[in-house]
Point group: D2
Chain length 338, copies 4
Amino acid sequence: MVVAMEQWATEEQIAAVIARLQEHKLDVHRSTGTSRTVIGAIGETHMLDLQAFEVMPGVAEVVRISEPYKLASRTFKREDSIVHVGDVPIGGKEIVVIAGPCSVESLDQTRRTAERVAAAGARMLRGGAFKPRTSPYSFSGLGEEGLEILRTVADEFGLKVATEAMDRTQIDAVVAYADMLQVGARNMQNFTFLRELGKTRIPIMLKRGLSATYEEWLMSAEYIMAGGNHDIVLCERGIRTFETYTRNTLDIAAIPVIKKLSHLPIIADPSHGTGRRDKVIPMARAAIAAGADGLLVEAHVDPDHAFSDGVQTLNLDQFDELMGQLRLITPVLGRTIR
Amino acid sequence: MVVAMEQWATEEQIAAVIARLQEHKLDVHRSTGTSRTVIGAIGETHMLDLQAFEVMPGVAEVVRISEPYKLASRTFKREDSIVHVGDVPIGGKEIVVIAGPCSVESLDQTRRTAERVAAAGARMLRGGAFKPRTSPYSFSGLGEEGLEILRTVADEFGLKVATEAMDRTQIDAVVAYADMLQVGARNMQNFTFLRELGKTRIPIMLKRGLSATYEEWLMSAEYIMAGGNHDIVLCERGIRTFETYTRNTLDIAAIPVIKKLSHLPIIADPSHGTGRRDKVIPMARAAIAAGADGLLVEAHVDPDHAFSDGVQTLNLDQFDELMGQLRLITPVLGRTIR
Amino acid sequence: MVVAMEQWATEEQIAAVIARLQEHKLDVHRSTGTSRTVIGAIGETHMLDLQAFEVMPGVAEVVRISEPYKLASRTFKREDSIVHVGDVPIGGKEIVVIAGPCSVESLDQTRRTAERVAAAGARMLRGGAFKPRTSPYSFSGLGEEGLEILRTVADEFGLKVATEAMDRTQIDAVVAYADMLQVGARNMQNFTFLRELGKTRIPIMLKRGLSATYEEWLMSAEYIMAGGNHDIVLCERGIRTFETYTRNTLDIAAIPVIKKLSHLPIIADPSHGTGRRDKVIPMARAAIAAGADGLLVEAHVDPDHAFSDGVQTLNLDQFDELMGQLRLITPVLGRTIR
Amino acid sequence: MVVAMEQWATEEQIAAVIARLQEHKLDVHRSTGTSRTVIGAIGETHMLDLQAFEVMPGVAEVVRISEPYKLASRTFKREDSIVHVGDVPIGGKEIVVIAGPCSVESLDQTRRTAERVAAAGARMLRGGAFKPRTSPYSFSGLGEEGLEILRTVADEFGLKVATEAMDRTQIDAVVAYADMLQVGARNMQNFTFLRELGKTRIPIMLKRGLSATYEEWLMSAEYIMAGGNHDIVLCERGIRTFETYTRNTLDIAAIPVIKKLSHLPIIADPSHGTGRRDKVIPMARAAIAAGADGLLVEAHVDPDHAFSDGVQTLNLDQFDELMGQLRLITPVLGRTIR
C-alpha cells in the first residue's frame, strides 16, 4: 500500500504514519520529493484497515496496491480450482449446466422438468424450496417438503441438487438434502451467514450481489474460505444499472476478469441476468464464449403457469434448443459438454 | 393495471386475459382501437403478480398503475405516521438526532461519547454490537456485552437506544436491550428476517439498500407491516452510483419523494451517505432542509482511533457544531429540535 | 398510450383529457372502474409529448405502450436491414471486423497496421484523425492529414474506412475521405449534429452513449433517419456502471435486445467496452456468440507506444489470434467471416 | 504518481519505467520490498498519460496521487473564485437565482415570466433559444429570434441573460445577445466545443454530464480554462442512476465536494435534477443548505402549456413561494439573497 502525505504534512506526521505501518510488520519505504512525501508499505496488507490510515493527520490519500483478499486470489493459488459436487467437477474442461424451475411447486412439476433436463444433458437440478419474495403477498415456497422433492427427483435421474438457503437457520436442512448450497445475490454480504457457511463442507454457489464490485464479491468468497470451506463456485447473475429494459445487466466481462483475479470457477445465470426468456439462449452462448465454466438456467415444464419467474424461464423445448447450441459451440472453445 | 395486447393478438387470446383478470375479482374494461386492444383492470391489484400476465400469449406489455404496496402507502393512510420510540416521537414536528459510534468498543468509549451527544441535544444513542464487516479479518463487535453497555449508558444520560440485528437469531437480544431495531442496508431484502420482524413490536429503522428503488424499499416496509408491526422509520443512507469519490451518493430527493408516496417517517444518515467526515455537516443540513424527520450520525470520542468507520465519524466538537447549526435551521423550516 | 386518472378526478378533468387526445386524432377509449378511470388512446402516439398530459389536472400517470421511435423500429420494418459500406455489407450473414489504431499517428504506423489487419481478414480500417481527449494537455489528432493517410492506406490494402467526426463542422471532411462516419458515445445526443447527419448519404456508425438507454439510442438513430439517411449501424461500446475495474461494462444483452426492437445492424466494440487488452478477445467472442453483426477493434503495430488508448489495443499477433478464434466460432453460429 | 511493479518484474523492466519517468522530468523514488518494487514519481504529473505506463512490461498498477487538472484545482488557487456576470457576482456571499422558462416560446410568455421572477428576486433570466430535443418530432426552439427576445426582456427588468449554445457554430450568436453561455450536460465532454469556449471571454455555466465523475467535470472546466477563459460556474443538475422515479438523482454532495476540490463557484438545478415540479422547492432548499452559490430554476407563466419540460417547471406563484423560503434560510447560513 501507498500513503501519500499532504504537501504541508509535518515531519512528526510522516513519522507517525511510518511508525504505525511498522507496528503492522510491513516493509516501509519513504520517498521525499520536492513537493510531497509518499510512503510505500509492503507485506501482509490484506489484514489492514486502510481507513485507519486515511484519518491520520497529514495524510492525503491511501492506496491499496494488492488485493484485500488472499485465499480467493490467483496470486495465492496459480492453478484453476475445480469444485467437485459429488462426481460433477466444476471448473475443469467440462461445461456444467444446472437447470430446473425457480420454485419447487410439486413432485409432478419437478419430476417432469428433471426428466427432460437430464435427458438434454444437464448435470444438476436447481429449484427453490425457500422462496420469500419481493412481495409479502406472493407464494413463498414449500420449505423442507420442497427439499425432499428435489432429492428424490434428482436421484431418480442421476442429477446433483443445488438449492438456496436464505439464512443460517436453513443451512442444516439444505446440507441434509442438497449437494450444493446457493447463496443468493441479496445475501452476498450477509456476513453472519457467510461465517456459518465457512464451517460447513458443502460446495457453495456464491451469487454476485446486485451492486457488488468484483472486489466485494471476492471478499465474500474470502469470508467463507477463511472459515475453512474452499469449495466455492462464483455465479454472475447480472448487476443493477440505469438500463431497465432487461431485469439486470449481465456483466459478461466478469467472467474473464474473475478468471484473472481468482482461481475459483465461475458460472453465469442468463435467466436472472436478463429477466426475459427470449434473451436466455443468446446470453448463455455469450457467457460460454467468454469462458464461463457452466450455466445456471431456469427451465420449467410449463413456464406460463410457473408460480414465480415464469417470464424468464425456458420451456423444455427451448432448453433442448439451448443444449443443442452449446454442443456446437463448446468444442470450438476447447471445452466439453455432456 | 393495464394489459396492452399485441397488434396480431387473437380474440381467444384477448378473452383468456380477460377471464384471468376476472378470476382475481377485478373490474375489467376493454378498449379496441384500429390497431390494438388495451385491457384495463381495477381493484386489489397489489396482490397480483404481473409476470403471470406478461407471459400469456398475445400480451405485449403489462403496466401497473397503482403501487404494489398498500399498508405503507400514502393512499392507504393520508396523515403522517409518528413512531414513538419510548417517549421520543419520530415523524412529528421535532427533528430527532440519533448519534453514537459505529461500533461499541468499550464502556468508557461509549459513556464518554454518550455524555457529550446527550448534552448537545441527541435523543437517541446508536452503536453496533454485532459488526461483521466486509473483511473477515476485521473487528466484528462485542455482541451481547455491547448491548449491555449501550443500555447502561443510554439510561445514564436519558437516551433511547437504536442498534442493529444482523439476522433473525439476534432479534431477541436486541429486543431485550434496545428501544429501536435497525435493519441494515445489506439486509433490506432479507425477507425471512423481515417476516420475523413483523411479529415483534419494537420500532424498526429500515435502511435503504445500496441499490434499492423507492418501490422496493417501501415493499420491504410492507413486508414488516403485513406481519403486524407498523412502527417503521425509513432511513436514506446513500445509494451506489458510478461516482466513487464519496462512499455512496446520498439521495436527498428520497426524502420528499417518500413523504409523498408514504405516511412513514424518514430520516437520513449523512455518515454512511458520504463516507467522509467533512461532508457530514453540509449533508445533514441538506437532509433537514429537504424535510427529513431526523438524522442518524456517527460520532465518537476519538474517531481517529475508532475500530470501524472512523473516516466518516464526527468527533464530539464537530458534533456540537452540527447541533448548533441545526438549531439555527430548524425554526425557519417550522420544526423544533431539542 | 394510457392515461390513468386520480381517484378524485372530476368529470370535467376527464373530459379535458379526452378532448386533448382527440385533437391529436387518436382513437380514445374510456374505462371507468369503481375507484378510478383509465383512458386508452391508440394511433400515431410517437409524435406526442407525454409530459403535456402528465401536467393536466386530475392525471395520475401517463404510460406509453408503443415505442417513441418509428423508422428505427422492428414494427415499422420487419426484415433485417443491411447497410452497404461500399461493397461491404453489414447486417447480413457475414461478420464484419473493423480494425485499426485509436489515433492515426503517421503514414508508416497506419500502413503497417493496415497491412496486417487486412491480411488477417478485417474488411474495414478504423482510426481517429480528430482526437480531442479528456485532458487538454494530450495529443489531439492529425486532422485532415490523418484522413488522407487513412484513405491512401485503406485503398492500398482493399479496405473501407470508418472514422469519427466530432461535430458538424467536420462532416464534409469525413465524407470526402471516408466510407463510414462514426458518431462517438459522447455525441450520441448531440442533436444539432445528428440533424446534419440526416442530410448526408454516408453510412453512419452510431455508438451508444455511456449512460444511454436502449430507447434513447434508438431515438438518436430515429433523428438521423428522420432526416433521410437510413444507413445506420449501431455500436455497443459499454455503459457506465458502479464497477470501475473495467473501463466500462460492455452490455452484451444490448445485442439481442436491439435485434428485437429494431431492424438495424449492431456491432460491438470490446476495446472501449473493457478498456483492457487481455479482455478484448473473450468479449469479442461473447459479442459474436450473442448475435453481433461485426466488431470494432483497436489494433496497432506497437500498442505500447500508441499515442492513445494503448492499454486496450491489441498488437498484431493478438489480432491474428482474435481472427483465428472468430473463424472457428462463426460457422457454428451460422455466420461467415472473411 | 506511483507505479507498482509485478512481483516477477525484472530489473530491466524496473529500470525502463524509471527512465521513462525521468524523461518527463519527475523526481523518482524507488522502494524495493521483499516481494515487490514500488516507484514513486513527483512533479508535473497532470500532463502525463498514465496509460502509457500501465502497458509497460512488468507494471502491475499505476496510481495517480494528485489530480489530473490544475487550473481548476483548489491546490492551484486557494481562495474562492467569484465569477462576475455583468454586475452579478456568483461565488460570493450572495445566493444568485437564475430563473425562466425551459424554451423561449414568445415575447409575451417570456416577458410575463421575467417580470414576475425579477420582482421575486431572481438576478438572471434563463431560457432556451436552441432546443433540439430527444425526439426529432418535437419543438426545437426559436433560434436567434429567441435570443433577441431574451435580451429585450432581460434589459426591461434589469436581469442578466444565461442561455445555451449547442455547438461551436452557435457561440457567436450567444455571445452577441447573452451574458452567460450555458454548456448543457450532453455537451460536457464535447471537447472541440470546449476548446472554442476557451477562446471567448463570456462567463460559462458548465453543467455536469449525466454520467460524469467529479474529476471528469473538473477536467472539462480545465479544458476551457487552459484556453484562457477562467470565468466558469459549475452546475450540478443530477446524474443517472438506477432510480427512475425521479428523472435524475440530484447529487447534493457534489456541492461540498466541489467546494473542496476546486475554487470555482457551483450552483444547482433542482428542476432537471428531479424532473418533478413538487420536488423543486425542497431540493432547492437542500442545495442551498449544502452550500450552493445559486440556483438554476425553470419557471413559466403557464407551465401546463409550456412547449417543453412543463412537468418540472414551477408556476410563478410557486416561484414566489421558493424565493420566500430561501429568504428565510439564507441568513441562518451566513449568506444573502436579493
